[in-house]
Symmetry: C2
Subunit: 524 residues, 2 copies
């Protein structure tokens, strides 16, 4: 077979030409032609991931770090299944990516073979759109279309189902793929800026920001607007990317716990949603409604297809006088001493985190106090767990480092969540990524202890409590990191953490710090 | 809340009463009442798994080791997503299990929350049936029904979707759940034994065995039948459980590679499928048809709802004279010396594997020669990767050890596949399981090198080859095991392997042996 003579090459070449050049890959036999095509395209980059959830999470992190989509290469239904949880998180973050999933040759699908599965049932689960390819189709056009759709607001993952026979055959010229993808969003009209501004000028108004409004420019614009209209300003609880720190106005996040969020929104009569979703509790509750705004509050929202940042620009342009945004100043916290509390941890990060850092955060209960400490830190971008499916933090950090090799990437992670996609450490080592991973070892799914209390279930017995316990045996994160080629150390005091963090920032390649924040004892 | 006063307790108690007593669990907030219910039921056992694919794979291994279903507890759509790949393998193995998946409270599902997802799209992917529960339903009856359906031929995983509000409310008495589950198999009539026997008496006939026919009794019966009718005997390539060794007739497996399988079936005119599927290639191929039997061959199959073992008993009962089955004798191979080749590895296993061992096999290219060496080994049960989704071996071995604590469990695993669900090692340590894990470290997805050749794609360049390479950095399996509390050693010669294997068998609790079978160099 000569170069470019088979379908897979058309797909890969078209994606690369569309600017989708990095492939986070975990391939198998059915993707062998796609592997060969990536091999033959000098501008395609291949990043091997040892589990599919790492590949999808890394593409999400890449998108959040760069604003551009990466590609993901997966093996049939089961490979897609393994990648779904982080695709779910990516969809909620509105991260663009192009997921190419191999599928059996069309005539092989009639048979009950081991790897035969209902791939289509999965594809719709977390993708914005699903593209199928038939023999004779214009595969390059379909691929370009997929890449374009991924970055059309609302951005998100799109899936290309690549049957093996289509990949190994010559592509044709049928433009069928340019037509409707399987899932297409309905067009909605833009919210007019003047209407939004008038709305805000009413009493007791507030703006809830989300999406690309959370860049330095967007937050500054929003702060000017808030001052001009006398509105409060909030950001969503879990954001794909939130720029913060020195030189950017501080905005509170909507609290996670229902009780606190209700409190925060109690005084809001008019809420403008700019790229954000209507505030709803994370989980339903015995106590009642999931809605966090008052029943009589008015909500007004931008369209899903509208850029929140562009909306803010247009609204500010309507102001006769633009108040200067209240930019945060660098406020260095004092060096902490003694026990390794959350407060001590975030103080160290406040002191040492370099300008332009990208933070992939899944720090669980240890996150208490982080927002306040980061307020006066050097300017950084903070990536949250967006879909509640734990195991996003390490992959997203890994992908961010591939996309933004000059930035310092920091991963803050609960030990429980870190285990789901721990294979990401290997990809960091393979790519010599500039990542410092801090694992908060409390030997527990600590958040779930709170949930037992909040649900009035009393104190769990030994057996119930063991279902949240990582203490028997304790995980040894230093060995874990070293097993995958990542340098590591373990710390138990504030001073040790500060020293290890400083050294890690000065080290080439990825580093892991095991931060022993808990005794492993059950918290009551 | 008092004991048994909420829905979750009805579900857990009914499952336990139905004999489903072990819960492989990875819970979250939406399953907090189920956790409490397991805690309160003294006969329920909780086995924490640090990733959902470990939980589903372990329940599969438990079923294969015991013939009985375990339960799995998962968190919402994303938890189910993470468990799907090994559910796929379990479905193909026809392993019974009851998967309880939490879902948001019914009235919370209306909102676009982080963890909102289309759980139902996933549930049908790999489950035999999906049960939903409404407030007021007789939850105990639904749960009993689910447990019963899991063990009704064809066995398989069933899913119970447990909305949080149904779990925290009082159960009612509505018997709705006893009606049709979402997916139900059509009833098919049994194949009459006399018809099957007459079919086999024709020229050039063969029997292909699968399912529960592959126990010692079933294989002996099949061997008598084969002798009486002059038929050849084969077993499927990838079996859920295959009993072999001393005291059991040897039966060849249908080869994995298309070319070899076609060869094997070339002389078969009449093929009787007893609990097996029609022979089809694993992957489709450029060369042509997926079907492995000759186009003019006749196939006759038992019904899916028919027990293969019972069928064999009934067929043998029709014979006027029953030939004695040709039982294998113990044939101890010579102690190997020198390089750690597959041949050397299987010779060591032949010599040392204790009677009654359960083997969870995902050994990849290292499997060459295993079947021949196991022929004269002590009696054992061999569990294959059934659905082609790698990452089954460690979890299945872990679950088998929970289900059959007196048996020695052996896991043989490629290093690539072992990474997908490596968290299983921790569960082995937690349960002090009697498992010896042998990881074949060749620092490569070696099978995929063959596939490149078989597809005529020439030699991959550096980049393409790097997509199959685990060599940069190499994984250190000794550190990996120790990180999760499992004792480990590394070996590079036949003698070292024999010594380590012998020592591992004498050790309490789980052990891992890193067998350095390859140089990490690319095989050409
Ligand atoms: C894929 C997935 N599985 C399970 C859960 C349920 N869950 C939510 S938080 C949590 C424990 C997190 O533990 P850790 O990361 O150590 O943080 P900690 O609570 O100790 O701060 C679990 C299991 C989930 N959210 N997503
Ligand atoms: C879930 C899933 N992802 C990817 C694949 C594709 N695949 C098949 S075999 C293989 C490599 C297996 O490597 P290893 O376990 O080391 O065995 P070896 O080939 O080296 O013997 C891969 C990635 C698969 N079958 N299932």
């Amino acid at each position: 077979m000569s170069t470019a003579s088979f379908g897979a090459q058309s797909v890969v070449d078209a994606l690369v030409e569309s600017g989708v050049t990095t492939f986070f890959a975990n391939p198998g036999t059915s993707e062998i032609h796609l592997v060969s095509a990536i091999d033959r395209n000098p501008n395609a980059r291949a990043v091997l991931c040892l589990f599919e959830g790492v590949a999808t999470g890394a593409a999400d992190g890449y998108a959040r770090a760069t604003g551009r989509p990466a590609a993901v290469l997966l093996h049939l239904g089961p490979g897609l299944a393994n990648g779904l949880a982080n695709l779910h998180n990516a969809r909620k973050a509105r991260s663009p990516m192009v997921v190419v999933v191999g599928e059996h040759a069309s005539n092989h699908l009639a048979y009950d073979t081991p790897l035969k599965s209902d791939l289509d049932a999965l594809a719709g689960y977390a993708a914005k759109a699903v593209f199928h390819m038939q023999p004779g189709d214009d595969l390059a056009a379909i691929s370009r279309n997929a890449a374009a759709l991924a970055v059309t607001a609302p951005c998100g993952p799109v899936i290309i189902v690549a049957n093996a026979d289509v990949m190994w055959s010559l592509p044709g010229g049928k433009p069928r793929g340019l037509a409707q993808p399987a899932h297409r969003n309905v067009d909605t009209p833009d919210l007019p800026p003047q209407q939004a501004l008038d709305f805000l000028r009413g009493e007791r108004s507030a703006v809830l920001l989300g999406g690309d409004a959370l860049c330095a420019e967007g937050i500054s614009l929003a702060d000017s607007l808030a001052q001009a209209t006398g509105s409060a300003l909030l950001v969503e609880t879990f954001n794909g990317r939130h720029e913060r720190g020195e030189g950017i106005p501080h905005v509170d996040r909507l609290p996670y716990f229902r009780e606190a969020a209700l409190d925060k929104l109690a005084s809001v009569d008019r809420l403008l949603l700019v790229g954000s979703r209507a505030p709803v509790a994370f989980f339903g509750s015995v106590e009642g409604s999931s809605v966090l705004t008052r029943p009589d509050a008015q909500l007004l929202a931008t369209a899903e297809t509208q850029s929140p940042l562009a909306m803010l620009r247009r609204m500010v342009a309507l102001l006769s006088k633009i108040p200067a945004p209240r930019l945060e100043e660098r406020k260095e916290l004092e060096a902490p001493v003694g026990p390794l509390t959350p407060k001590a941890i975030w103080a160290v990060v406040n002191r040492l985190m370099p300008e332009g850092a990208i933070v992939s955060d899944e720090s669980g209960v240890t996150s208490v106090g982080a927002d306040e400490a980061m307020r006066g830190a050097r300017r950084h971008a903070w990536l949250n767990l967006t879909g509640g499916s734990i195991g996003q933090g390490l992959p997203a950090g890994s992908g961010a480092a591939v996309g933004a090799p000059d930035a310092q990437v920091l991963v803050f992670h609960g030990d429980g969540g870190a285990m789901y996609t721990v294979q990401a450490l290997w990809t960091q080592a393979r790519e010599r990524s500039k990542v410092v991973n801090v694992i908060f070892r409390n030997d527990r799914y600590a958040i779930l202890d709170y949930e037992v209390k909040r649900h009035g279930l009393g104190v769990l017995g030994e057996k119930g409590a063991s279902m949240f316990s990582l203490a028997d045996p304790s995980l040894d994160w230093v060995s874990m990191a070293q097993a995958m080629g990542v340098k590591a150390s373990s710390v138990a005091t504030a001073e040790e953490f500060a020293a290890a963090f400083e050294e890690a920032l000065a080290t080439e390649g990825p580093v892991l710090i095991e931060a022993r924040v808990g005794s492993g004892k059950r918290s009551r």
